[in-house]
């Protein structure tokens, strides 16, 4: 098995063969992928070495010390966090060979065509149709809230292939070419003023059957891989104390004594405690993963961060007094990534409202914890044994 020493050697060899200072960024990233040092737990030939995931930090540490370029993970979060694990678990060899390298390098951005106007929390109720036509599928429908669709080259897509069976059974999972002429992306302006997400209209979009992931009708099961990874990825990053949203408020508090009030002080201390405990919880989760004992704790992290981000940024707006009444910029722009720290308190306050909606609402996450972790009984359901076409809409 690959150990830390071997990984260190391989990383140094990569750095010798492709010195970051004189190598083009994309070339360096491709070479890193080909050396199996992109994500070491992936299989050889697909950017990895089949090594334990915990050893990635060895590679990352060496590369950071050598000031090597990274693949700007924030710009390609959906690809790395959701598309890649799904491609790896359910893609054919050709699919994995074709897509994983440009995905990881960042040459091809991915987006997620899941939610629809009529299907959000109840994703399995979606109505975008895919109909088989020779070697292809023909897709028609509308998706919504699609982050990064305006910069994406590819998408992971779930569509209905059989309306006559119960909703979870009639779904199929595809890779969709965002450059197909039948794909129309329209910006959706959000409460922050910008348009980070989009509406996506799909009209007679042709998808080759080779771009189906998993069996026909197996889309729900495949989607579980995506959704699980979406919620787990949040616990991954290691933050220093005050590394999250609490940082800017704490700094303002220290630097501007004239803003302080007793009420704000009490609330700030309470939130500081929660933020620091949440950070430790993330650190504990990371230690569990490294020790090979992953627990269900990750599902709690997203909930916790959503609430904290909202409360902390709300406090920050209040703390700023007159300045809290101002907003940095309402111009409609279409950002490539979400940047919490590069903007001001008002933006943080508004953007963090999405944290309890995107990637599964907080209410839905509480349902999941209650039923899957605590094993509390499910609510009685009326939608399980009914053909999708007969459901109320």
């Amino acid at each position: 098995m690959t150990d830390a020493a071997e990984l260190r050697d391989r990383t140094r060899a990569l750095l010798r063969a492709h010195p970051p200072a004189t190598t083009d960024r994309t070339d360096f990233l491709r070479a890193r992928f080909d050396a199996g040092l992109a994500w070491v737990h992936y299989p050889p030939g697909l950017g990895g070495l089949g090594a334990p995931r915990s050893l990635q930090s060895v590679v990352d540490g060496e590369l950071a010390a050598a000031a090597a370029p990274d693949n700007d993970p924030r710009r390609i979060g959906i690809g790395l966090g959701m598309a890649a694990p799904t491609l790896l678990a359910h893609g054919s060899d050709e699919v994995k060979q074709r897509f994983l390298r440009p995905l990881w390098v960042g040459e091809e951005v991915w987006c997620q065509l899941f939610s629809e106007p009529g299907a959000g929390s109840d994703l399995a109720a979606l109505s975008t149709r895919a109909v088989r036509d020779g070697a292809d599928w023909v897709v028609n429908g509308q998706k919504v809230w699609t982050s990064s669709a305006h910069v994406a080259r590819w998408a992971i897509l779930i569509a209905r292939t059989d309306p006559d069976v119960p909703k979870h059974q009639g779904l199929t999972y595809f890779i969709c070419d965002m450059s197909h002429p039948g794909v129309e992306v329209r910006p959706l302006r959000q409460i922050t003023g910008e348009a980070e997400f989009n509406e996506v209209f799909l009209t007679d979009v042709r998808i080759p059957d080779a771009h189906r992931l998993g069996g026909t009708g197996d889309g729900w099961r495949v989607a579980q891989t995506t959704l699980m990874n979406e919620r787990v990825s949040i616990g991954g990053a290691r933050l220093p104390r005050e590394g999250g949203m609490i940082g800017p408020v704490a700094t303002a508090w220290r630097e501007r004594p004239e803003l302080r009030t007793h009420d704000l002080h009490q609330r700030l201390l309470a939130l500081w405690v929660e933020a620091e405990v949440a950070r430790l919880t993330g650190e504990r989760l990371r230690q569990q993963l490294v020790a090979g004992e992953p627990g269900p704790e990750g599902s709690g992290m997203k909930l916790q961060f959503a609430r904290l981000n909202q409360e902390i940024s709300g406090l920050e707006v209040e703390l700023l007094g007159e300045e809290g009444l101002l907003y940095d910029d309402w111009t409609l722009c279409r950002p490539e990534l979400v940047d919490f720290t590069g903007r001001e308190a008002g933006y943080r306050y508004l953007r963090s409202k999405g944290n309890s909606i995107e990637g599964g609402t907080s209410e839905v996450l509480l349902n999941i914890i209650a039923e899957r972790v605590l094993r509390l009984p499910a609510e009685p359901r009326t939608d399980k044994d009914v053909a999708w076409k007969d459901l109320t809409r």
Binding site: H262, H265, A270, V277, L280, L366, E371, L374, P377
Partner: protein, 363 residues
């Protein structure tokens, strides 16, 4: 920033937990506990002997050369998680943690200190600090006279009494102990008063040493109390889940109602967080980290509230049965509420954090 604390449980710690849990399950289950509490003497001496000497829990903090296990705060924290789960009356937090830690801060070469530690290590004797249970790590200890709300004093053989000129070890027979009626029946309280001028006990430390020792003892007590609170909260959630899965109303288990599920899921999230906070405090104490005061204040500010929340929810989610004497939920509630005052309230610890985290109060 200091190195990341180790927030997991080691194999040894898990084995220790299993041993303590099986002991408490066998010998200190709810009916046994209720019967003891009723009797007015909640302590089970033979249980203490097995826990203290058999399992070796009393001497976890004490070095081997002084007759202890030479383990540390991480292990003691695991014992406390289990004692918290079972709400067991035992002078563990007060004796095996706070008093022991105070003595370890003194000159352990001195025979009167070494001998006492050796007797504590086996649970053969019990010492507790003569301090109100509410004393926070940076509070000044009482300067003499009767002291109220001294936890586990009635179970102690020796009291560690801070006086203006130092720390004294006083035999229990040489003080007047007046039991008080405690909110938490599983942690008896008493007023401790000097018996007379001629029975001062043995002075075991001068004033500055005593001050530091008291602070160190209370810091360990507050830090490890978080683990007791964690165990208690876990028990409350497990019981609530169990009950609401079984209890049927409206032709379905009440645990299938989303209003209740969300409350229990929320508690679970809090407990996951409390575990990280409690482990961080135990690890900081064990490694002597410079971050210890902050880690302890953080754990107390967080875990106290989680335990109270879990216990209050436990009563509510049980409905009428939760209000009965017969069901153990009340024991957990009383312990949780009393614990939230012990070694400083959450608000008190947040005030400490204002200094420790450099978030000063206005003006």
């Amino acid at each position: 920033m200091s190195a990341q604390p180790d927030l997991l449980y080691s194999g040894t710690e898990n084995d220790l937990r299993a041993a303590v849990r099986s002991l408490l399950t066998d010998r200190a289950d709810t009916p046994a506990l209720l019967a003891r509490v009723e009797s007015g003497d909640p302590y089970d001496t033979s249980l203490w002997d097995t826990l203290a000497a058999g399992i070796g829990a009393a001497g976890l903090l004490i070095p081997e050369k002084l007759g202890g296990q030479g383990a540390g705060h991480r292990e003691a924290a695991v014992v406390l998680e289990e004692l918290g789960r079972a709400v067991t009356p035992a002078p563990y937090l007060t004796g095996s943690v706070v008093a022991t830690e105070m003595l370890l801060a003194l000159d352990t070469q001195a025979p009167e200190v070494a001998d006492l530690l050796e007797a504590l290590a086996t649970g053969h004797r019990v010492a507790v600090p003569a301090l109100p249970l509410t004393t926070a790590p940076d509070d000044a200890p009482p300067a003499g006279g009767p002291v109220n709300a001294v936890a586990d004093a009635v179970r102690a053989d020796v009291l560690l009494v801070p006086r203006p000129d130092g720390l004294y070890a006083v035999e229990a027979a040489e003080v007047t102990l007046t039991p008080q009626t405690p909110l938490d029946l599983t942690r008896p309280l008493a007023t401790v008063a000097p018996l007379g001028e001629d029975t001062p006990g043995t002075r075991i430390a001068d004033a500055p040493t005593a001050r530091a020792a008291v602070r160190r003892g209370l810091l360990a007590g507050a830090g490890l109390l978080a683990s007791e609170q964690l165990g208690l909260a876990e028990w409350c959630l497990e019981e609530s889940v169990r009950h609401t899965r079984e209890r049927h109303q409206f032709n379905r288990p009440v645990g299938s109602f989303q209003a209740l599920k969300h409350r229990m899921a929320q508690l679970w999230v809090e407990i996951v967080n409390a575990r990280a906070a409690a482990r961080a405090a135990a690890d900081a104490l064990a490694t002597g980290s410079p971050d210890t005061p902050l880690a302890v204040a953080l754990a107390q500010a967080y875990c106290s509230q989680v335990a109270v929340h879990a216990a209050e929810e436990c009563v509510q989610l049980h409905g009428g049965i939760g209000m009965t004497w017969e069901h153990p939920a009340h024991l957990a509630l009383k312990r949780a509420k009393a614990d939230s005052l012990a070694f400083g309230t959450p608000g008190r610890h947040r005030q400490s954090l204002a200094t420790l985290a450099d978030l000063p109060a206005p003006g």
